[in-house]
């Protein structure tokens, strides 16, 4: 079978701001391979002196979108790769990538549901791929997303999430919590995700939702522990930790 993990040169065909600190990059790939929702790509930068920096970024686009992928990247102040992508990269530039990688944190429609998605900040990205996949194939798997952001202007994919909910036949429900500041007449949650909040969101899904939690490590750890303590089977709770914040760091 074809080895899918060779490095290839992708071309940036669109850059879209999502929030003040988050942008989505559309990359056209010469050797596109259908990814599964939740998988990631490695991005590698090479300086003129040969120094290389490499990070993993979750694919945001659905597998049904052929020939290209979208990566949504948060700009980290001390990030070697995210600052380059945000501050230097323009449409038409080329960038070295390999993927798709990581079969552990994936959801495909045939895996069924109900589906519980919990995201903190840019942890929404692989979960968005799952929601886009679900919408693209017309899945009616019952799905609840609990999404924690700092303020209303930090909510990534805000408009699209509203539209996905509106266009769904009532099987997709999205719950926002804003931890730092809330606009007037805010009707969502206004605190960090806690056990009470999780209990309220999880209860209608029954005892065994397929669960995906992605975000900063401490949020993921807290959510996963609380989910197990309210009775979910650890085998059904998959986690993807981003480290302190933002993209997935790795050695090398």
């Amino acid at each position: 079978m074809e080895r899918t993990l060779a490095w290839q040169i992708a071309t940036v065909t669109a850059i879209r701001p999502e929030t003040a600190r988050v942008k989505s990059f559309t990359l056209t790939l010469p050797n596109w391979v259908e990814q599964r929702a939740g998988q990631h790509y490695d991005v590698r930068l090479t300086a003129p002196d040969g120094y290389q920096a490499q990070r993993s970024y979750s694919v945001a686009s659905e597998p049904e979108r052929r020939g290209e992928i979208e990566l949504t990247v948060e700009r980290l102040e001390d990030g070697e790769v995210s600052t380059y992508m945000h501050d230097v990269l323009v449409v038409g530039d080329q960038i070295e990538v390999r993927g798709p990688i990581g079969g552990y944190f994936v959801w495909q429609a045939h895996l069924g549901g109900p589906l519980l998605l919990v995201a903190g900040g840019s942890g929404i990205v692989p979960l968005m791929a799952m929601l886009r996949h679900r919408a693209a194939i017309g899945s009616d798997v019952r799905t609840r997303l609990l999404f924690s952001s700092r303020t209303i202007s930090d909510v990534i994919y805000s408009d699209e999430l509203s539209r996905l909910t509106a266009e769904d036949n009532g099987k997709l429900e999205i719950f926002h919590t804003l931890t730092r500041a809330q606009p007037p007449s805010w009707s969502g949650y206004s605190r960090r995700i806690d056990r009470q909040m999780l209990t309220e969101v999880v209860a209608p899904l029954g005892p065994a939702p397929k669960t995906y939690v992605c975000g900063p490590t401490l949020l993921v750890e807290s959510v996963a522990n609380n989910l197990v303590q309210i009775g979910l089977d650890p085998a059904h709770v998959k986690t993807e930790r981003f480290g302190p914040t933002g993209g997935v760091p790795r050695g090398g």
Binding site: S56, I101, G103, Y104, P234, V237, T239, P244, P249, G251
Partner: protein, 104 residues
């Protein structure tokens, strides 16, 4: 995979905050095994837990990568890359079970 048994004290909180999942080093593991292994299984030498490799605790803020058991936190694997070679220390693994279907 979530585990309730684990706890961290204050000294461990920084490492703890930097921890990611085995899934995050899938690319590096692919370089070693030439296949997708995050859905494969590793049995911990120390406590006997069989865990999906993607669910191992990964510590990457170092010259190498350390993968620990999600139950007992024993070191399962250590990986160091140099310009010439990749070193894999897997003495914390009783066995690996890698799915034929994930080759590709």
């Amino acid at each position: 995979m979530a585990e309730v048994q684990r706890g961290f004290d204050e000294d461990e909180s920084l490492d703890h905050a930097l921890m990611v999942d085995g899934n995050a080093v899938a690319g590096l593991l692919y370089e070693i095994f030439a296949m997708e292994v995050t859905t494969g299984e590793a049995e911990c030498v120390s406590c006997g837990k069989r865990a999906e490799i993607g669910s191992l605790l990964a510590f990457t803020q170092a010259p190498g990568v350390v993968l620990r058991c999600p139950r007992c936190e024993n070191i399962v694997m250590r990986i160091v890359q140099t310009a010439e070679a990749i070193y894999l220390d897997a003495r914390g693994v009783t066995y690996l079970r890698l799915d034929n279907l994930s080759r590709g």
